[in-house]
Structure formats: C-alpha cells, structure tokens
Symmetry: C2
Subunit: 266 residues, 2 copies
C-alpha cells in the first residue's frame, strides 16, 4: 500500500486557509492512506476556551473534514487528520479517520500536553483499531506517545499502522517512534507541523521532521525540519502482523501480562 | 548518593576468574550502589542445559554472590549482579541485590532472549522494589527492556533507580534507556559486558557502552564500547520521586489506566 504524511505550517485561526494548504499539498499525490498533523484545521496556541470554541469544528459538520473527505473519495485514499473539535460534551483535541466511502471515525487525545489542559477536555473514547481498504489503523495524537501503553493497546488490538498526528515541541518524539515500532512491530506514520506560533503568553516552535518508521523500526521516510512536505512511500502492512523478532522470540506471544497488573490498577 | 556500574568481559565458565575480575574493578571505588552485568559469574553462550547446570550457582550458596557481598559489607555498598542461577525449580537467568547488612533479594529475568529459551526457565518472580540505604531500587535483566511494562511497573511501585544488568547484542538498548527514564522519570543504570563469545553454533558480540540515564532522561555517564570500565557518579534519587514534566503534566498523576486494560488481559 502507499502511505504518507503531509507536513505544513497552519496559520492560527485560519481554518479555510489551512484546509486549502492541505488540499494543495495532497493534490499531486496518490496514496491509500495519508496522515495530517494535530490541530491541522486551527493551529495550536489557543489563549482561551472562548477562542478555542470559536475556532473548533463539530466532527459531524466540519468544513475542514468535509473538504478532506471529498478528496479522500476522489482519490480513493483514507486520511487521518487532527482537528480542534467542538462537541456537546466539550472541546477536544481530536483526530478523524476519513474513508473514501464517506464513513469516518473519531479519536480524542487521551494525554493533553502542557497548557492544553486549560482549553481542552481530556479524551473520553477508547483506543480503537479501524479497517481501511489497505490496512488496519489506529490513531494517536502527539503526547499520547509519552505513554507507551497507548501504542501497545493499539498494536494488541491489531493495528498495522499507527497514524500519529502531532504538533511536536519536545525533542524526543521522532526518536521515540523508533521504539514504538520496535516493541510493537507496527508502522508509525508521524505527521508533524513546523514553524512558530507566538500568541499571548505562549511561544511554540514546532519541530517538523515528520517520519515513517517500519514495523522493524527502520526510519523509512523523513521530512525536513521547516518546510512543507508531502511524502508517500510503499509499505507492506502485513509485515506488522508478524511479531517475530527472531526464530525464538514472538514479541506478543511471549508477553506475560500477569506480571503487569499494576499498570491497570485504578 | 554515589552510584555506578562495572563493565567487563567475563570468560565463559570461569566463575572464579570472573568474580576476581569484578572484585579488582570494584576495589578502587567507593559507592552506595553498583550494578554489574547479566550472567556476570558465568558468561553467556551456553550450548546445553547440562553445561549451564554445571556452571550455574545456587542463590543461597553462591561463591560469586558471597564474594561480592563480602565487598558490599566492607565498602558499605549495595550491589546488583546478574548470575546464572541453579534452583530447585530449574535454571534461571537471575539478578541479586546484595546489601551491606548481608541480606539479599532475587529477581529472575521475565523475558528470555533468543536461544536462552532453550537453557533457562522464564522468570517466575514479580517485579518488586527494594529499599537500600541510599535509594529504592528495582531490577531488570537485559531483554526485559523490550517490554516497557517492566520499567513502568517498577516505577509505579516506587523505584528511584532501575538496576539493569545486561548482555546487549542488539543495537537499541542504550538509546532505549533514554525513553525508559523519560517516560517514568527514573534513573536507569545499565551495566553491560563487552567482547565476543563463540561457542558451538553461537557467536555473540556484546556492545559495552554501559550507561546511566537520569530521571530527566539525560545520559549522565557512559562507558567505552570494548574496555573494562568502572564508573561512579553522584545522583539524587529524590529527583525520581517528582513525576512532573512541567507545571501542567505530572506523568503519573495524569495516567489513565482505565484505557489500558488490554495490556493486562490474560
């Protein structure tokens, strides 16, 4: 299958312009699966809940998601995009899977980073794996990677490709994805943004360097640190179904969950 | 507290000589906690269970552990050492905590790597945290790091320092320790061996590069790739009690174990 990422620099609050940026970057490419950054519709540096509420979009009635899904249909390509979501239960840092057939699936970031806690509600949906035409995918958003349990749950549920929409500001995420792939034998498609945002008390520099790691942990695609990028490569998602590290070790068959109960004690 | 590691090249099957190598490397140093490699008494490349049985030592009657513990008492220094263990339940790839007061604690490697499965029984003891005079420590052995749940359980149980006795042959372990520290805000003391072992069908090259990562994930001590090394540095184990990544994120208080139940389903 052909999979890839779109890296760009959203303009804060310009949802229409940001959507057009994404469409322009997608246009020249054919793929089965494309991943777009976190908060791709809105930008990142919110300064109040009111501001976020005025910019966020409803999952079921989102101009950004609708525009992307029209292209998904046209190109027969599933897409995962991060977006600021306005729901009846509150405001969420979310990602949507948009399939060519018009269906979509929702994920809400479980682990909010930094001041996001002041504006967004923490995710309230389980980590799920979804079928697309070309692969079984799971979604994570940015800081979720700091909790290796997130990728583990998705891999245990059968994800072949983890679609990781991010706005990285910390220096470790790209290197960390190598270990997420290594330990779970899944592909990681990390779609980052780049550029700076300075608003109110906040100043963020996003790190670009979007990346794909293979199920064997090799970095098989990477983007520049501070430029638009659309990278599509061929991968074999079935390689993620083989959890054998060598002839003796099947990483999942070897698991010993009975020694891990402290992890799920609440 | 002063903590460190001993890196050396065991000679296969020469338990007495290996013990003397360790004693010689320890002798010039003063420390509160020293970590020694996996299978430090025996070497690694066993070719049969009978051979392993003839070389392994009982936990409660081990010349190697007794000699190390005598030095632990003399120097008032706790030690963690990997050793081939012969027990009534079978043969284990184990580590022992040896305290200056003569008490000791046992851990048996949960995740056997490669052909180890042919010779050793998988560990049958829980991941536990133990008090020493200077810090609360947990033990892991080599391939256990491939399962991030191991370090997570130890950190959740209050470990400040994870004593990681290893015989690394894969290229990722040292870089992976950075993430173990980052995600859990614990110190990792990784004591590796170096050199080659070729026996029967096996040929291993061990990677040296023993390492200490701080609770903030910085690499604060490192050894050469292929030389004896004894490195002792000052650390503050209390830094591992603070799980705050920034003023908004306490990594452990933020955990959401209710989303992780697939990890402990058996």
């Amino acid at each position: 299958m052909k999979t890839g990422f779109i890296q760009f620099r959203p303009v804060f609050g310009d949802n229409t312009g940001n959507t057009q940026q994404m469409l322009d970057l997608i246009a020249p490419h054919e793929a089965d699966l494309l991943v777009l950054p976190e908060l791709a519709n809105s930008g990142y540096a919110f300064t109040s809940k009111d501001e976020l509420a005025s910019i966020a979009e409803p999952y079921d009635n989102s101009p950004t998601l609708d525009a992307l899904q029209a292209v998904a249909k046209e190109k027969n390509c599933s897409m995962v995009a991060g977006f600021a979501e306005k729901a009846s239960e509150g405001l969420f840092n979310s990602a949507a899977l948009l399939r060519p057939d018009g269906s979509r699936e929702l994920y809400r970031k479980l682990y909010l980073y930094g001041a996001e806690n002041r504006f967004f509600e923490p995710g309230n949906l389980p980590l799920e794996v979804y079928d697309t035409d070309a692969a079984r995918i799971g979604m994570m958003i940015c800081f979720d990677w700091f909790y290796p349990e997130c990728a583990r749950v998705l891999a245990l549920k059968g994800a072949q490709v983890i679609c990781h929409s991010v706005n990285f500001v910390l220096p470790w995420g790209q290197r960390g994805a190598v270990f997420t792939s290594l330990w779970n034998r899944v592909y990681m498609v990390t779609a980052n943004r780049y550029g700076e945002e300075k608003r109110g008390e906040f100043a963020f520099t996003f790190t670009g360097g979007s990346q794909i790691t293979a199920a064997n942990s090799d970095v098989i695609a990477t983007a520049p640190l501070d430029e638009d990028a659309a990278v599509v490569i061929d991968i074999d998602p079935a390689l993620a179904d083989d959890k054998k590290l060598n002839k003796y070790n099947d990483l999942f068959a070897d698991r010993r969950p009975e020694f891990f109960k402290d992890i799920t004690d609440v």
